[in-house]
């Protein structure tokens, strides 16, 4: 992942979220407070704007700026949580053009930081349920030396499955946990937005002209 791809990713997230805002908000209305789509939209459109005036040194800088913008513009639970994922991943991704293994390590660090910040683990019905398998998929892809396109496609697939896996769960973290058993049967909005973020990553990676066609 280079600077352009990182930028393209954040831009593509912003577009995808804007288009899918209402679904995310509806998911949040069912088991939360109905603002997740707006929160993400506010944050990522601010991030795109912030990146417009940034001259990043590395792809990591792009992600760090995205993270700090999310923190200072989103609020709610998702602002600090997603902000921390991007900031932590970006700091780790300081190197020039990061390969699949670097990306896996960076997002893995992001995953660790968000689990720590929100004291959540897989199965709590949060964004972690999508993020964790996505990171695993990236690591596996790195181990088998897949290219970025293949790796991110696998991550997107895993994130999607992970998000879907939240449906039968009872929430143990965040607002949905207030509902107790009533939270069962609903897709977690944060897991849904994480799946979207990885879907978009796969799309931009596939479209990336610089993408190495072979191993990472």
């Amino acid at each position: 992942m280079d600077i352009d791809l990182a930028r393209a990713w954040v831009r593509a997230i912003a577009e995808a979220i804007e288009a899918d805002k209402e679904r995310l908000t509806r998911l949040d209305a069912e088991i939360g407070d109905g603002d997740h789509g707006n929160n993400m939209d506010r944050g990522f459109s601010a991030a795109v704007q912030a990146l417009d005036t940034l001259t990043p040194g590395t792809a990591g800088d792009v992600l760090v700026k995205t993270g700090t913008t999310l923190i200072s513009r989103v609020g709610g639970a998702s602002g600090p949580l997603y902000g921390t994922v991007f900031r932590t991943a970006g700091k780790r991704l300081a190197a020039g053009d990061a390969g699949v293994a670097d990306l896996a390590a960076a997002l893995g660090a992001g995953l660790d930081s968000v689990c720590k910040l929100g004291s959540a683990q897989v199965g709590d019905k949060t964004m972690v349920d999508a993020l964790s398998p996505a990171v695993d998929a990236l690591s596996t892809a790195a181990d088998s030396e897949s290219d970025l396109g293949t790796a991110t496609a696998a991550a997107a697939e895993a994130a999607d499955k992970g998000a879907q896996s939240t449906v039968p769960l009872q929430a143990r973290k965040g607002r949905a946990s207030y509902l107790g058993p009533r939270s069962v049967g609903h897709l977690d909005p944060g897991a849904a937005s994480t799946a979207l973020i990885f879907r978009v990553l796969a799309n931009v990676a596939a479209a990336d002209p610089d993408a190495p066609r072979g191993g990472a």
């Binding site: 407070d33 109905g34 603002d35 707006n38 923190i71 513009r73 609020g75 965040g174 207030y178």
Partner: protein, 332 residues
Amino acid sequence: MKKFLNTAESFLPDALAGLAAAHPELRVDLDTGTVVRSDAPTEGRVALVSGGGSGHEPLHTGFVGAGMLDAACPGEIFTSPVPDQMLSAATAVNSGAGVLFVVKNYTGDVLNFEMAADLASEEGIEVQSVLVNDDVAVEDSTFTAGRRGTGATLFVEKIAGAAAARGDDLASVAEIGRRVNAASRSFAVALTACTTPSAGRPGFDLPEDEIEVGVGIHGEPGRSREKLRPANEIAADVLEIILNDHDLASGDEAIVMVNGLGGTPLSELYLVYGEVSSLLAKRGITIVRRLVGDYVTSLDMAGCSITVCRAEEPFLALWDAPVNTPALRWGV
């Protein structure tokens, strides 16, 4: 959606502009997202900063003023504010005696206030926090995000605010705030869902003969859905739940709030208060102070919450101390 607004996007800034116009005694800063007492910082006094998602007015902006909050940080509707807001507020109100953050226990509020506390510390501002978690509708277990902060927030802000005003130091103000929270329990019932400007329609559908029991203040559904019942039965059920979780005993004194969620007429709140008052009297508990009205709301939601706080020493004297804010005023 039927609301007085220009656009859904401009709802919050437009409402804050109105607040600014109506209250020249407050500094409403739309850029930093803060509402500050215009005489801040108050020399030698601990400053109180609170905040949270908007849509609960008068909480918190209506409680900024002498004897209560020094600043409030209104977030987007039902979305906790961002750390920058709390940092701005802390900077504006800190006189050197330190700043107390009053934080309602929601994941978003906790995380954003924590980040703000870190930033403030880095800038040399001494910060302590009181976490308000009075809502007994939520089980406080490792299986939840913990109890929500609702009505007791007002009690904490009033009583800790009075402690700060009389010159208590930061540790003492924080301590009394925590004690107020520990002595308080709340529970809410909704008759209708609320509609956020951005969603444009009610957060949930509720049949004509059903109520949401144990709702939060963010339009989230309650812990169960039940049949509409006479007010005396609802009041009895709610008090039962509250008192089962509280160690209030016969002979105790309490401060009680019957709080409207935004769409319920005052007459109904008084009616509920009447029931609460006679139920507590039967248990030998004396209500020594009370509030009946809209204080911690959920936009246009019809419903009410009941908060019971044991009137320990020295809560009552601090409660009675002067307060001069848009929404709470006495003794001045």
